[in-house]
Amino acid sequence: MDLDPLILSRIQFAFVVCFHAIFPVFTIGLASTIAGFETLSFKTNNPVWQKLSKFWIQVFAVVFGMGVVSGIVMSFQFGTNWSNFSYATANFLGPVLSYEVITAFFLEAAFLGVLLFGRDKVPQGVHLFAAIMVATGTFISSFWILAANSLLQTPDGLVLIKGMYHVVSWTDALFNPSFAYRFAHMALASFLTASLVVAGVSAWFLIQQREVEANRKALSVALWFLLVLAPTQAVVGDFHGLNTLEHQPTKVAAMEGNWETSKGVPLLLFAIPDKKNQTNHFEVKIPKMASFVLTHDWNGEVPGLKDVPIEEQPPVFVVFWAFRVMVALGLLMIGFAIWGLFLRIGGKYYQSTFFLNGLRLMSLTPFLAVLAGWIVTETGRAPWLIYKQMTHAQGLTPSLTGGMALFTLIGYIIVYALVFSAGIYYLLKVFRGGLEKANKPHELDSIERPSRPFSAAHAALEEGEK
């Protein structure tokens, strides 16, 4: 059998990056949540906020740890599998990715320790400041990463000299045309993720009647955020889509499953796109709706996939369906936000077991939506690695064989499966311990214990311990 290093490298990158992405998207939102709890605790002196903060800081510590581990692998992927790409873009990507590392280290060195372990050692105001700085730091980190990704989508401020891009304008390169939209979309996604996880976990505690007062407050705050964020995300997503329409029309055509550039294009609710025959099967559609959404005019023109040759079209089926999954989950979030509002008006949002169980399930949806969204934007750029400038095939490591790529693909799957099942298992233990365990003074090991993220969580690894 002929193993294709290109396909295998793409699968490997997708696997590693998907695995990695779910952690930061959660920690970015959670850091702000914790800063919020700390602020409320500082201002109101109501002890429930500190109770909540202590618990969610433990969750943060574990998820942050897993994010760092999976992120280290990411930074080597570029060199091992995509060396031509790395070399060509190093003048931009090198400094940008390094600045992300610098931000993360600075954050960890200066503030994370104070946030995780300093509560009883520093004044409350200093602790609050550390919480705010950690939250800020996570955004600065994501600034660099999203600037790097956006540059691949909408390159700007670069000039190609002898096979290497040189940065002509750092401002144009960092703040390239799609950056602001992508950053806003991801920031909201992070907040939504944190809101839905906090809502889901609090709902689960409420079903069990645990720490009712604190968890009720947490659920209330999370639902208010959901009510604001979910519809806002729809609007921002729409703007992001319009930006994509302007700069990457073929991606939008794939999202809409639209083959011919035409006016008054219908919105497809269901279809089986068939790239080989350049058509769709089993279409279920709303007439003229796609034109209206994309151009805000019922007869507006929507670009078609056939504007570019077939070898420059992305895998339409994947982009088309990933987009629908993302939008459907987004609408579901809006639905739950409104449902929560109605229950609140009736005063019963924390008593309806049906609603609370629904929220438990909803805590998984932001992760799926984020992954679906990234699949849309990354797969939708194919075959381009740098849009209209370098294809995936051109960016690949020349010396890479299919066998090598398969070896590491299987290797990373095994490593991640082992390591992250342990991590997730432990995270679930922290959840089970709940606010009660996080707020109980734990017996300190008599050995001086290191101050690292995981140490902030006190749960034992196996059942029935401690």
């Binding site: 280290i72 060199g79 091992t80 003048n91 990715l97 490591t397 070896f407 690292r452 140490s455 690894l461």
Partner: protein, 333 residues
Amino acid sequence: MEQPFDLTLIWAGIIGFGIMMYVLMDGFDLGQGILFPFAPDEHTRDVMMNSVAPVWDGNETWLVLGGAGLLAAFPLVYAVFLPALYIGVFLLLAGLIFRGVAFEFRFKAKTSKYLWNWAFAGGSIVAAFAQGAVVGAYIQGFKTENFVYVGGALDWLTPFTVMTGAGLVAGYALLGSTWLIMKSEGEVQAWAYKLTPRLLAGVLFVFAVVSIYTPYVDPLVKSRWFDSLSLIWALPVLAMYCAFIIFRSVQKRDEGLPFVATMGLFAFSYLGLLASKWPYIVPPNYTIYDAASAPESQLFLLLGFLFVIPIVLAYTAWTYWVFRGKVKSTGYH
């Protein structure tokens, strides 16, 4: 763009310093993992792990900082070494991940503790071996054409690199055992004293082979060392003097000196290697200037590094200060 100072040279200094810091610091904590299977009992393992637990992840900071800095300052190194060492890089990362996770979970485990012991030992040994093989591959040189690696997947894996890999495993174990002498007492310390001379013998053997082999494969190295008696001969002489001090200080049951002298042995060997290969960073074809990124990119990142390196150093110093002294292990159940 004309620069008033040689940015590439500055970056070579920064990266060289970063690698040095990494080797010395992560070396002794990897060493604990390498010695783990040979520890006489579980109590000793507790002491070993506790002696490095507060500092190991700070030590690995230097690896990530160095890796990111390489892509930014010397992209050719990044784009040749990683493809050429593809399988080795995977082993290195997998090893570091396993031992990192073992650090976190061994403390929280009871019945599954033995699993984390194996993860810690296996991960450390694999990671150390992979790093040693990288050094060997650097000495061997890379098959390149037009700034692209054109060799095969396992070109790096030769008897020579297997030996440098094993040599670094022994070297890190030596850093580990002398660190343990400094940080422990009683039976654990006695065990570490016993190990040190044997490990030193292994390291010196590899040192000798590398010293003979390197000028043999690379005519540039040969002429640099043997054409005329130059100042660089001071480096191996100093390294040998350090080895002598390790040996003697262990006999005298000195507690701190063995570790300091081992760091010296590493530092002078490392400088000796650099002196052999300078200015080639992707041997045999490319110098640091061929491998450098654009000056504006080097400058852009230099500002950030100049800001962050003092902070990392200060943070590191502070952590070591807080956890200074012997590891106390009483009452750990």
